[in-house]
Symmetry: C2
Subunit: 362 residues, 2 copies
């Protein structure tokens, strides 16, 4: 069967696809109200949080912008802990709205070192918030967020985390790890189409909100809270995507968080072991390798375009390439959401066949 | 058959609903590229424009925010031509981002008077941009945008128009009327679910963009243009909504603009005549009555909640109420998108039955 092996959008189960054929309803009516509350509560289950949780219509990048503009004022110092493209993007958003960025960058493929973050916070006492990517999609690295959170919280700082490609696939207990704003996106492990982003907002985040002066309207958390009390959103939401999300959430709840995380561990491991068995080298430090996406160095003599074309045409499997400085140097395999080890096994058979066709010798 | 008679989300044809069962695809791959270009070109046909046209993931309010932050700088004077809730919202967005609002408000139910707008522009020579709502959903009034544009353009001002609930239902030739930024939303006459907003950008708008200093990232037109050259969007788009939009657009193109506008004229007229035949009074000045939504005063002794409940429970027809100052005073019937006169005839039979049941006597 054709496989979409990219880190989002992810393949959708048939019942999720089918759910979108339901006719439109009034987004200010009782049927919508019940769905909104059900979906919000189930996302909170996955987030492992009692914090407020808002569903906003937009991509994950929109959720990141929402977190920035609701928490900060122009001129605020922000520590940007970045291990790749998406960490850099988070800093760019904050900078675009006038924050002063203190960079804390780590080498591609490595996780953030909590000791280096601690030193940065000692050196920069004025920092108001720390931006961290939980799972860096561009390199396939998962930060040790438990350890990073301990450091950030020992300084009493606001912790804003891009959990877009981890939440619902990798354990990320928002309350236990004291994440003030945690962002995710519907097209990742949630088994829903793209179009929605989720943000959780802690009490400390609400305190920051009350002082934050960056301009905002569409993404305003205060409006989202006011309307959620009426089981609605301030602006018209992506109704058909919520239909799909509800079905995806029911599947997640039925499977249970522990089983979901264990399954992603299995597929992550199967991908890494499969790649290594083919003699390929992984981009990520294996201690921090992501269970939702694996980045692999292209072997000498193999071009990304040829590999991706062969995978697609000979095996109906879609992989993706590197971004930024890694463009043309790596390829990536997504394994989050509706996926199990047999899919990865098929993918690895295809990868071996494609590489062999292109002249690769293990 | 059940009817959703609100001004968006609108009922979707079966083939549009069915299109959403298509599996997810790579939003950076060739299949997506072809769809993106096809959909963009067909939206431009409906917009009657050669300007750039971008599809952004968000609600119509997001498109309004995008127009503001890409065109203006904090401190810029903006003339806000408002005839209702959505006109006021447009001004609120501009104000939230630091624009100085010069209000030019008209009584609810009336259209904007071009002579009043002319005087406001004479009195305020520093105005940089004029914000206008083409079709005001809260009152069911369609402004004479051709006449208003002539005034605005005689002063050489930037013209930014909320065409959310008009475009694809009511004639709105963007190039002929020299609209610099025209905004619409997928859940209106486009016969698609909510989740996407469209913006057209003229050369004059690009000139304004190059000087505009309001902070922006997610909504940045420059990024949208850069990625559209690659047949992509900067951030992950709402793919399943685009599937639906493509089918809706094919239906619009097949019907042809003239026929679409004529059909909306017929349903608009049928709604107004039907309401008047029941002895009801219209909110909108009939000279400017909208062909996509009709606002009707609640007759003495009839409460909105009882009317809406009876319509829903006895006839499976969903209507909507008034917003802001009109809450509890009016009800509204949406008639845009997948609708024809027979739907309105059914709706009027139901309205007569519901009103009679509630004790109304014509």
């Amino acid at each position: 069967m054709a496989q979409l092996r990219i880190p989002g959008p992810t393949p959708l189960p048939p019942e999720v696809l089918q759910s979108q054929t339901k006719q439109m309803i009034n987004h200010r009516g009782s049927e919508y109200h019940a769905m909104m509350t059900d979906v919000t509560n189930k996302i909170k289950y996955v987030y492992q949080t009692k914090n407020d949780l808002f569903i906003l219509t937009g991509s994950g990048t929109g959720g990141m912008e929402a977190a920035i503009v609701n928490m900060l004022s122009p001129g605020d110092q922000v520590l940007s802990v970045s291990i790749g493209i998406f960490g850099d993007r988070f800093a760019s958003i904050a900078q675009a709205f006038g924050a002063k960025i203190i960079p804390c960058k780590f080498e591609m493929g490595k996780a953030a070192d909590p000791d280096v973050v601690r030193k940065a916070l000692v050196d920069n006492p004025e920092v108001k918030a720390v931006l961290i990517t939980h799972n860096e999609t561009s390199t396939g690295v998962t930060n040790d967020l438990a350890a990073l959170s301990k450091v950030v919280k020992s300084f009493g700082k606001l912790l804003i985390v891009d959990c877009i490609s981890s939440m619902s696939s990798i354990n990320c207990p928002v309350d236990e790890w004291q994440i003030d704003v945690a962002i995710s996106g519907s097209q990742k492990g949630w088994m829903a189409p793209p179009g929605l982003t989720f943000v959780s907002v802690s009490q400390k985040a609400w305190d920051a909100y009350s002082k934050a002066k960056m301009p905002r309207f569409y993404w305003d958390f205060g409006q989202a809270k006011k309307y959620l009390a009426k089981e609605e959103t301030p602006w018209t939401p992506a109704v058909s995507v919520i239909y799909a999300l509800q079905v995806g959430l029911n599947m997640l709840v039925k499977e249970g968080l522990e089983n979901i995380f264990a399954r992603h561990e299995r597929v992550g491991k199967a991908t890494r072991e499969g790649a290594k068995a083919l003699g390929l080298k992984l981009v990520a430090d294996e201690k921090y390798a992501s269970n939702t996406v694996t980045s692999i160095w292209l072997p000498a003599g193999i071009e990304y375009k040829a590999l991706s074309k062969t995978m697609r045409e000979d095996y109906q499997i879609t992989i993706t390439g590197g971004q930024g400085a890694l463009d043309g140097k790596i390829f990536r395999i997504g394994h989050l959401g509706w996926v199990d080890v047999k899919d990865i096994d098929e993918c690895m058979v295809a990868l071996k066949g494609a590489l062999t066709k292109l002249g690769y010798k293990n």
